[in-house]
Amino acid sequence: MTTPYQKLAATEWTSRLFPGIRSSVYLADDHLLHAKQIMIFEKYRRFYFSDIEAISFSKSNRWIWVSAVWGILLLFSLLWYLGRQPWCYIVGACFCLIFGGLLLSSLFAGPTYVVNIQTAAQIRRLRPVERENKLIKFQEIILPMITAAQQSSTNQTPA
């Protein structure tokens, strides 16, 4: 019987366009599962709560750069309106809608972090929780579970 997994977070939908970037984090009773999709494979990494040594995160400027790229593309999309033809306006509106939507979604998602999870055997980057709102939610869920698991394992260990 398979372990029931509850999805905690996933990388943004734009990651579907780039192979190897899409990944998700799932929660089970006693571990976290990191599922990374690479073209035709899905690779899994398990992090048992009793084994997690550290979660480190650093502030990153990636969200500023990504927003700047979408903003520049939005400005370029406005150049279609110089065409003074009805079809130019339609194409321009489509591009403005796409890049404007991407810019807004990037801004609303908030600042980015680089998040690493560490056990004695491995250190992995958790891309799905690198946006601030997802990281806060992730911490709220995961920290009590890790603390509880490690307290109980300490209590079980004979002195």
């Binding site: 019987m1 398979t2 372990t3 997994y5 999805k7 998700s24 799932y26 006693d30 571990h31 599962l33 599922a35 999709q37 073209m39 035709i40 494979f41 899905e42 690779k43 899994y44 990494r45 398990r46 048992y48 009793s50 084994d51 997690i52 040594e53 550290a54 979660i55 480190s56 995160f57 650093s58 502030k59 990153s60 972090y113 680089v114 998040v115 690493n116 560490q118 056990t119 004695a120 250190i123 980057r125 911490q139 920290l143 890790i146 603390t147 490690q150 307290q151 300490t154």
Partner: protein
């Protein structure tokens, strides 16, 4: 004790004074604002296990006859010393069983990857169109994709829930591409038969 906590950006070891602070501190190497949450597992005294020597009346480890057995493998029942005991989640197993279970990949707890047949089917359908090979082998690729869909519908064993919509999409595409290829060939044959002179026949 483990080697310590690392900066997520430059992987430099962070000082213990930077652990579990409520505010961000600067990494001494890359100057990135960093916060590290360290758990008791970091300072667990387990370290490297040292198996104890056994006396004549004590059970021996299956792999080390001089070491005292301290655990029993949860899968095969072999006696194991502390060196040979591998804690895998809540179970204690021997290295042989872990290797065997990972090779067999029948137990979901030991599965570390899954093949995505739906993505393969979509790739088989889309790549020939992009490479213009579809014109020659369109029907073969469509049939291949349908075979992959039929196999993958039951054989795709992902650990996490995965929607079947990609399979349905691939089936639709396969039928359209296969039907389109047959229609294309029929059209070419009909054109040649109805206007043979235009084709130099």
């Amino acid at each position: 004790m483990s080697a310590g906590a690392f900066c997520p950006i430059c992987h430099h070891v962070l000082a213990t004074t930077q652990w579990n602070l409520h505010e961000f501190t600067v990494c001494p190497n890359c100057q990135a604002p960093t916060r590290t949450l360290v758990f008791p597992a970091m300072v667990r005294t387990a370290g490297a296990p040292h198996p104890e020597s056994r006396t004549e009346t004590e059970a021996a480890c299956f792999f080390h006859s001089n070491s005292r057995a301290e655990n029993v493998c949860g899968s095969c029942g072999r006696f194991l010393c502390s060196l040979c005991t591998v804690a895998f989640g809540s179970e204690k197993l021997c290295p042989d069983c872990i290797y065997r279970k990972r090779r067999q990949s029948t137990d979901p707890e030991f599965r570390d990857q899954a093949i995505l047949f739906d993505n393969i089917a979509l790739f088989v359908l889309i790549a020939p169109v992009l490479c213009l090979v579809y014109i020659y082998f369109g029907l073969i690729f469509s049939a291949l994709a349908i075979a992959i869909i039929i196999i993958g519908w039951r054989q795709q064993r992902t650990l996490v829930p995965r929607s079947k919509y990609r399979f349905i999409l691939a089936t639709g595409l396969a039928l359209i591409e296969g039907g389109g290829w047959i229609a294309l060939v029929w059209l070419i044959v009909w054109l040649i038969q109805s206007h043979p002179t235009d084709f130099g026949l």
